[in-house]
Subunit: 379 residues, 2 copies
């Protein structure tokens, strides 16, 4: 066996340390110093298991049990469990409460993982369309139509799924309205909060959600992979059913889920996350400021207006034009940003860009905007 | 909402830093310095995704793609994927290659997660019994009998599962013989290597395995949760089938599995792991030394002899006797060890103990043995 092992020595990452990172999937998962400190303590593989009596969620040292209780309060839900991420939370719900072949009704803006989870759980689905260019908004009434249609056709509906904020346009959907429709028609309602919980205030019961799928690495300032599945009490028995052979163990969680560094970083970041969601209005101000300034130079914000989330998608015909007369083609924009210490946009793409300034200081936000304007005006 | 957040500040762990940890599930997951260094670089949530083109296993910066190729070579298998752990690897195999209701034949020493994965995948099982007290050995021929019996009853067999080394007795099973039986009868063969790969040399094809389920946090010096699923080429299409809607994404992996710190620590530890498995004979010497010395004071090693794995289970009637005349009852042993800087045995239990000295220096091994003898002779 010949393996060159040198390539695995001294691996380093420059983007995170040396650049302002505008990638929307990364901005909510940047660790505060408190979480970095805890990693030194718990980096070994099974480090959370020192005082385990057989159930991850019942461990009291470190305070996993208390944390899950507090997360339920924070989310205004009844019971929470760690999972490996939002996608695993969605699969767990589908696999436990739906029967094979059932229909899931979900929004057209749903993350690909919602579709893949449906496929893995061997379910069918019907998509509620958005209203198309340029807003791509999900209209809650269309959920009603989808339910009617499936019921008329005699199809079995297993779950209503809504993406709270989607990863394409950063649209905040009206979860409460969809929740009310689901409740009225007596279907369980799963809200995918991968882009919301941990960034902005989310109260599950107010939104009539039966399940919240949350992501630690995407939006709760945690090292991945980790998520939270938070559920209403009436579904606890079904979703958290115990093994026949090992009655302490929860079947859908395969006993234990995310442990070690991901879980401890999530816990250590929790006080920071509780504080930061209170400053959500300030984050929206930064986001809207970026939209206002960049629309002045010919960028066009897609999705709903005004922005209710930090993920911004721009149509950028001005960059597209510039790329045609630039030797470096589409890569000029990425490269010019990089020279100026800004990363996280997709190299080579100029028709549309996705950015977020979540968690940056106002000084950094202004630097980002001024830099983009400078590149567009001078290159 | 009233949450006392102070309990999440400055979380610390003493066991890992200040004690020699004898817990067998923890000894193989202790990070070398190389892995600790990489964590500083990649602790943010989505840090591995800086240069992702849509598939975790194809990322070249950091070198995930190359690592998976090298892991396949290291294990003498064809294709490898990261998973969230050995239990998830087992579920993925069962859920993709078995039909609902199929039978899995597995050994009585199997980890609880094998049973829970079977239950989640909605399969049946038949257990191959061990030979009972005191060796608890799995006899490969009994797999043949189980196959015969199920075939005679007209039952559909989906999978043969063997626990390479079990977590109760640390018995090394004869995987090659079971693999030959599975191959001859044309059933797929999954070897649970959670306690072997990363500690000792394992060559999948030599053992006739179609699948290896490996654990990063248990035995590959990685932060959890992470595992490897390594498969033979002929099963790749079925297990790694792509989504109809998102043809780049692998359904059973829900797109991406373990990323960030767990994956990077696994990669950074790989050169260290490749080296340490070469020293397996030395580890066995340490283990057998512990057995020899402690049997002299009345401990009795359960499981097969001589030890072929570092996990040791002792019957300890001498501790049981002592606990009866000690004020602290069963806790005296745990507490006396703790006073002397040794941790990782279950508090209060004195009938049987499980320990491992894997990866300790000879000096530490001697200190552990001398300390236990001192406690037994002087307390």
């Amino acid at each position: 066996m010949e393996i060159n092992l040198d390539k695995y020595r001294n691996l380093s990452r420059h983007l995170g340390r040396e650049y302002i990172n505008l990638n929307p999937i990364q901005r909510g998962g940047i660790l505060p110093v408190e979480a970095k400190k805890v990693i030194y303590e718990y980096w070994d593989g099974y480090s959370v298991c020192d005082y385990c009596g057989g159930r991850l969620d019942e461990i009291r040292t470190p305070p996993i049990y208390e944390f899950l209780e507090d997360v339920s309060k924070f989310l205004d839900m009844d019971i929470s469990r760690p999972t490996h991420g939002a996608r695993e939370s969605k699969f767990i719900v589908m696999h436990s409460i739906c029967k094979e072949g059932d229909y899931v009704i979900l929004d057209e803006n749903a993350h690909y993982t919602s579709y893949v989870a449906i496929e893995r759980a061997r379910l069918n689905y019907v998509t509620v369309k958005n209203d198309g260019y340029p807003t791509y908004q999900i209209e809650p009434e269309r959920y009603k139509e989808a339910i009617d249609r499936l019921e008329d056709e005699g199809k079995s509906i297993g779950l209503i799924l809504l993406t709270h904020v989607d990863g394409s346009y950063g649209n905040l959907s009206d979860a409460e309205k969809v929740g009310k429709i689901a409740k009225k028609r007596r279907y369980p309602f799963l809200l995918n909060c991968a882009y919301t919980v941990g960034r902005m205030p989310v109260k599950g019961k107010k939104l009539k959600a039966d399940f919240l799928a949350c992501s630690g690495h995407k939006s709760m300032a945690a090292s991945g992979p980790i998520g939270i599945l938070s559920i209403r009490e009436e579904f606890a028995e079904e979703v958290l059913r115990r093994s026949k052979n090992h009655p302490k163990k929860e079947v859908e969680l395969l006993g234990c889920t995310s442990r070690g560094v991901p879980l401890l970083s999530l816990i250590a970041s929790f006080p920071y996350v509780v504080e930061r969601v209170k400053k959500w209005e300030e984050e929206l101000k930064k986001t809207r400021y970026v939209v206002d300034r960049l629309e002045e130079i010919g960028f066009k914000q897609l999705g709903m207006k005004p922005k209710e989330h930090d993920l911004i998608k721009f149509e950028t015909p001005v960059l597209e034009e510039m790329s045609k007369r630039n030797k470096r083609r589409g890569f000029f924009f990425y490269e010019e940003l990089k020279k100026r210490g800004i990363g996280g946009i997709v190299p080579g793409v100029t028709k549309e860009i996705k950015i977020s300034v979540y968690g940056l200081t106002w000084e950094q936000v202004e630097y980002v905007v001024d830099t983009i304007i400078e590149i567009v005006e001078k290159c």
